[in-house]
């Protein structure tokens, strides 16, 4: 058995014999420790470019073009299973939390019942993709809008939750005192040509003090038995206001093909 003193003697002998080498080794390790340590905040300058191909550029000047990433971390192998920031508290993200549940509910509940509609003159209908049954754009380059038709089974989250979600999409602050039910009650009720009831929601009412170029929206929820048809028009406040009646005619023309 190697005693402590013998062990110490061997260590010291080897240390004396190899001290230069040990010194070099330790210096190298010390160098490695400090390699890459950034002590001061790093500053960078770069040009960020975002180009949209289709009107409208539905982006307020101070809006983060990557806002859609928040709460939607890429579900790759690095982020698999990670939930979005889910505890940001207070009224700040309460609505987002509701929306996250709403999103998954919506995705599961696409209703494929065939619908027909009359494309307003001056508007161009494009083939639907994903959950969209149809997408429309107008030909007015100065006041571009986009309209969509989506049909969802069941309650699809309810009109109130969707109204709040849409408000957030156009950067309307949903304060604690905002009474969404009262707002919906104030909105005009429509009947489609096939006599389906619809609620017409005009968000420009909440943007009276805003500039004409601010992102805005009008929407209609057509109620069917066991399904809801959502029709949305987005664009600047000026553009959606100019297209209000045309949009209304599109909503009213929607029929269920039996």
């Amino acid at each position: 058995m190697l005693g402590y003193s013998a062990f110490k003697k061997i260590i010291m002998k080897n240390f004396r014999r190899n001290r230069n080498l040990i010194g070099i080794g330790l210096s190298f390790l010390l160098l490695l420790t400090f390699v890459g340590c950034e002590r001061t905040p790093q500053k960078r300058q770069y040009t960020e470019i975002i180009i949209e191909s289709e009107p409208p550029l539905n982006l307020a000047s101070n809006e983060d073009p990557y806002a859609f990433l928040r709460g939607r971390m890429p579900q790759d192998d690095i982020h698999q299973g990670l939930m979005p920031q889910d505890d940001i508290h207070a009224s700040l993200n309460r609505q987002d939390m509701q929306n996250m549940g709403l999103d998954s509910e919506l995705n599961k509940s696409v209703d494929r019942t065939p619908l027909t509609w009359k494309t307003p003159s001056g508007w161009l209908e494009k083939t639907g993709s994903g959950m969209r049954l149809a997408t429309f754009v107008n030909a007015d380059a100065n006041n571009p809008i986009e309209a969509t038709i989506v049909s969802l089974g069941g309650e699809a989250g309810g009109v109130s939750a969707n109204v709040i979600r849409w408000m957030q999409q156009i950067n309307l602050k949903v304060s604690d005192s905002f009474q969404v039910e009262d707002f919906i009650k104030r909105q005009p009720q429509l009947k489609t040509t096939s006599n389906l009831p619809a609620v017409f929601i005009d968000f420009t009412e909440l943007q009276q003090d805003e500039k004409p170029g601010v992102a805005s929206m009008m929407a209609a929820v057509i109620e069917r038995e066991n399904a809801q048809i959502f029709v949305k028009m987005t664009g600047s406040k000026q553009a959606v206001t100019a297209n209000r009646e045309i949009f209304k005619s599109l909503v009213q023309s929607i029929r269920v093909s039996e």
Binding site: Q42, T47, I49, R70
Partner: protein, 388 residues
């Protein structure tokens, strides 16, 4: 006695240049690779990489230290270098083995370069959108840009000044002379919750009405942390503003300084790309009768030097441009049917080094086998000098 012979006399040198040590390190590397690969199932890629491959040591069962990938690979590197310097016999008959040896060293060097200098980020685009920046997975920055009218109706161009928040400490001053003010870190939380309201601190400027941050414990997975901070802005003229930025906000906080509006945001760091990439079309095939994706791919257009060209990115078919490789990573479809594609962006200056290492090692093996075949057994030279 030459220098090599002199050094070989030392026992410690003999230890570092022993083939047994090489075998030991290779065995450890095998165990780590197997262990780290299996661990990804439960811990995810990031945590497994950090624990098994990027660490020097980690604890097994919370008490037993085990060498991590860094320690093993540094050990192997020193072992191979020591052998090359002191024991390898440099004769023409051994040229194959010498090339293999340096090929293996090149593998380790390329691993180091990738570990130190490769930058991983992602780029998520909806169909029709083009961008020239990718987004970091975990690093955050304070981005500041002046509001300027768009040159083209469908294009936003921002000249961004960004400050990495990695080393932020309370009281730290960041000079943004280019913008005419300096930023002092009053408090910075690497993970926090944000609260709206709180009239007692109503002077704080924030776009979302946040006035208070509550420190939260740091999560192990860095992407689960949301930072926030309170900062003082002081201009050369002595004007002072107090702003609060939170990583969970979608709006920018606007501060008007000297008649100029500055947008400020605490966001995941953006990395400029040497090209602009547009998602033209996202395509997905589902398993019949299910909503599970069988395959998905992205048709993109890449713009370099004002020339656009199309490229299809799919699994195992990435887009390569200079030091950049873009892989199809994931996708999303929002509730209105908009399709988003996420591409993993890897910038690696040493991208071709592993290929070179493979060719060097392979070439060494070929040469060695040819030499073995044509050399009489009695003429075989020893490959290594025996340790004294």
């Amino acid at each position: 006695m030459n220098c090599r012979e002199h050094l070989r006399q030392y026992r410690i040198i003999g230890f570092f240049t022993s083939v047994k040590l090489t075998t030991f390190f290779l065995l450890l590397l095998f165990i780590l690779t197997f262990w780290g690969t299996v661990a990804q199932v439960h811990n995810g890629l990031y945590l497994a990489q950090q624990r098994y491959f990027h660490s020097f040591f980690f604890l097994v069962m919370e008490f037993l230290p085990f060498p991590g990938g860094q320690a093993v690979m540094w050990g192997l590197f020193f072992n191979l270098v020591s052998v090359a310097l002191l024991r390898l016999v440099y004769k023409w008959q051994n040229v194959g083995i010498i090339i293999i040896h340096f090929g293996l060293l090149l593998f380790l060097i390329s691993g180091f370069i990738t570990h130190r200098f490769a930058q991983e980020s992602f780029l998520t685009l909806p169909e029709g959108r083009a961008s020239n920046v990718s987004t970091a997975y975990h690093d955050w920055e304070i981005s500041v840009w002046k509001e300027t009218p768009p040159k083209f109706p469908l294009q936003i161009t921002r000249e961004v000044m960004a400050v990495n928040t990695k080393n932020f400490k309370t009281g730290q001053v960041v000079d943004l002379n280019e913008l005419g003010f300096q930023l002092t870190v009053k408090e910075y939380r690497r993970n926090c919750n944000a609260y709206v309201g709180g009239a007692e601190r109503s002077k704080i400027i924030n776009a979302s009405g946040i006035h208070r941050l509550k420190l939260m414990p740091l999560e192990k997975e860095p992407q689960k942390n949301t930072p926030g901070g309170v900062f003082d802005i002081e201009t050369a003229k002595g004007e002072n503003y107090e702003i609060l930025l939170f990583g969970g906000e979608s709006k920018t906080t606007i501060v008007k300084i000297g008649g100029v509006e500055y947008n400020m945001m605490l966001r995941l760091a953006r990395y400029p790309l040497p090209f602009t990439l547009k998602l033209v079309d996202f395509m997905m095939e589902k398993h019949p009768g299910t909503d599970t994706a069988r395959s998905f791919k992205s048709l993109v257009a890449i713009e370099t030097k004002n020339v656009w060209r199309d490229k299809l990115i799919s699994m195992n078919n990435p887009l390569r441009y200079k030091d950049y490789t873009l892989y199809q990573s994931s996708y999303a479809i929002d509730n209105m049917g908009y399709e988003f594609s996420t591409l993993a962006v890897v910038a690696n200056v040493g991208r071709i080094l592993p290929y070179i290492s493979t060719f060097v090692t392979f070439g060494g093996l070929v040469i060695h086998f040819i030499l073995m075949a044509f050399t009489a057994k009695k003429d075989v030279e020893p490959i290594f000098v025996e340790n004294d």
